[in-house]
């Protein structure tokens, strides 16, 4: 179409630039403020520059068990990531064929994304409470003696996170396989490959960059999840839950130091994932003919 940039371009470019500033500006402010001097407060001006608040945070200076929460969130995030990749991939492969209940599964996946998180969270909590009651009152003695609850980070909590990450994982898989050229598989089969060999040596290498993307969604969405975690984590809170609890009580820059630390983890994971995706795509461009380019 028209070759020179019109007024609309500059107006929209300005909107976009302001939006990016709006997205990143406030975050940048708390990064700066987390390096407040020891006498500094929650707002500007900066009273010196120091690592005081980070030290206080990581030596457990006054606030909750941050190290424990950090490890719990990291562990849970990694498990959610692996499960999200594996389960989304399997389901993505399934949806390329017809199977009984494919329509229902599709709608349930979308519903899981749309139903308010508090409702899902409450439901899982109720399910586990009823399960606990049943086991305590009707379970065999070896089970019910000393039994407290089945709720925990890796039971109800894990399930709650998966209801949030799997829909994203599956939607990404749909996008991948919509563009996937099935003739690569046919060629592999014609050359005598078993289904497993085809998957392992043909399909997976082509879709690997996107699978890293699915893993990125799995980890980061779990790492920052609160709403679904709120009722389902049992007695041990995850890091974002601790952070949210702090927003109402803390009046010192500890909270910015914590915010900066968790965001640093997010950014590190995003950077690693994007780097790996870039490397894989470069490798494909160099060695892999035009696989997946269609």
């Amino acid at each position: 179409m028209n070759e020179h940039r019109g007024l609309a371009f500059y107006a929209l470019a300005l909107v976009f630039a302001l939006y990016v500033l709006f997205l990143y500006g406030p975050m940048f402010v708390i990064f700066v403020l987390s390096f407040q001097g020891p006498t500094g407060g929650l707002t500007f001006p900066m009273n010196g520059v120091s690592l005081h608040w980070f030290e206080r945070l990581w030596h457990g200076g006054g606030i909750v068990d941050i190290t424990g929460a950090f490890k719990r969130s990291l562990g849970l995030g990694l498990v959610v990531m692996v499960l999200t990749v594996v389960l989304s991939l399997m389901a993505g492969l399934a949806f390329r064929k017809k199977f009984v209940g494919d329509g229902a599964l599709f709608y349930i996946t979308i519903a899981s994304l749309i139903v308010p998180s508090i409702v899902t969270s409450l439901g899982i909590a109720l399910e586990f409470r009823v399960l606990d009651d049943v086991l305590k009152n009707y379970g065999p003695a070896w089970l019910s003696d000393g039994y407290t609850t089945a709720m925990g980070n890796y039971t109800s909590g894990l399930g709650a996170h998966l209801t949030w990450t799997l829909p994203f994982g599956l939607l990404v898989m749909f996008a991948i396989f919509n563009r996937f050229d099935g003739r690569f598989e046919e060629a592999a089969r014609d050359l005598g490959a078993t289904p497993w060999q085809t998957l392992r040596h043909v399909v997976l290498p082509i879709i690997m960059p996107s699978l890293v993307g699915v893993g990125l969604f799995g980890f980061t969405l779990s790492w920052d999840e609160i709403a679904r975690s709120s009722q389902t984590m049992g007695e041990h809170n995850t890091l974002p839950m601790e952070l949210q609890a702090l927003t109402t009580t803390v009046t010192t820059p500890d909270i910015y130091a914590l915010g900066t630390s968790t965001t640093a983890v997010s950014f590190a994971v995003i950077a690693v994932a994007l780097f790996v995706i870039g490397q894989l795509q470069r490798r494909q461009a160099a060695f892999g003919s035009d696989a997946g380019a269609a």
Binding site: L23, L42, T43, R96, F99, L122, L170, F180, Q244
Partner: protein
């Protein structure tokens, strides 16, 4: 083993050979594990942690309760209590007022994210010419989505607080005499945070719709004499309807069910539909919490049904 008789060059785009694709699709059915086996794990997760929990919510909403436990007997007590005063003092009861206020937030946030999200998607899709640049800029919009919402909320505190940057600037330039109080812990800051956090949910589906628009349609409109505005209203917006509808569903359902943004940015002073559930939960009153959850779910489904009447989303996916 099946032998394919269709010769195909590996470089040919799949879309140009629908017959070949159909043949391979049919062949795939007889190839590898059956679909239901592959879909089983995800199905089990959704059954255990989504479908069954929703059933529990509905069942428990009809249970009775006392100060320290739920009592599994059928009663509509939780619903009756939730709508307390709605008949006698209509429409001046807690639940209706709360839903009214939440819907107002939905409308404001929806309008703002739609206009902003559409403009950004339009800029990315039609004004950025190189695909690489498009992807880079889209990624710039996506990265905050992969970071913590709570941190993105509290990052407004040093800006909007009583002694925050905005007030410091306004006071020092004598635009106002004393710091503005309504910037933080107010309906303003709640709406601002929603726009900040969730405009991405509009950008992504609308951008996706725009990228699918056949550019030749726009060239045809241009050749037929359409000006920029006519192009927008007659070509782009109608073809973006599915994206707009999907983005709207995301944004509206998020605001309807949210309790964290209302808490953190509203200073725990602003009621919302999601918080009605959460307040009951904090008091460990599970049946009333469940009843409020069912009401919330009903309201959300009603909104989706209305949006679905405007655009048939199923057809567009």
């Amino acid at each position: 083993m099946t032998v394919s008789v269709v010769p195909s060059k590996p470089g040919t785009p799949a879309s140009s050979a629908p017959a070949t694709r159909f043949a391979s699709r049919a062949a795939l059915d007889r190839f590898g594990l059956p679909g239901w086996v592959q879909a089983m794990p995800i199905g089990v997760v959704f059954a255990l942690f989504f479908v069954l929990p929703l059933i529990f919510v509905v069942i428990v909403s009809f249970w009775d309760y006392n100060d320290y436990q739920m009592l599994p007997t059928f009663t509509a007590r939780s619903y009756v209590e939730s709508f307390e005063g709605c008949l006698t003092k209509f429409p001046d009861c807690t639940i209706l007022k709360t839903y009214g206020s939440t819907l107002k937030f939905c409308a404001i946030v929806w309008a703002l994210t739609l206009v902003l999200g559409f403009s950004i998607a339009y800029f990315l899709a039609f004004h950025i010419r190189s695909t690489t640049m498009q992807m880079v800029l889209f990624l710039v919009c996506t990265i905050p989505f992969w970071t913590s919402n709570v941190i993105r909320m509290i990052s407004w505190i040093p800006l909007l607080g009583r002694n925050g940057l905005v007030n410091q600037a306004l006071v020092s330039t004598h635009i106002v005499n004393q710091p503005l109080e309504w910037l933080l812990y107010s309906p303003f800051s709640v709406s601002l945070a929603f726009v900040h956090l969730f405009t991405f949910f509009m950008v992504a589906p609308i951008f996706n719709s725009m990228m699918r628009i056949d550019r030749r349609l726009m060239e045809a409109a241009y050749d037929a004499g359409a000006n920029g505005f006519q192009m927008l209203t007659n070509v782009v917006i109608p073809l973006c309807k599915p994206g707009i509808a999907i983005g709207s569903i995301f944004v509206v359902t998020i605001v309807m069910g949210d309790f964290i943004t209302f808490d953190v940015m509203g200073g725990e002073q602003i009621a919302s539909a999601g918080k009605l559930v959460e307040t009951r939960l904090q008091a460990l009153q599970f049946p009333p919490a469940a009843a409020n959850a069912v009401i919330l779910l009903g309201a959300t489904m009603l909104i989706i049904a209305i949006l679905n009447r405007i655009v048939d989303i199923r057809k567009e996916l």
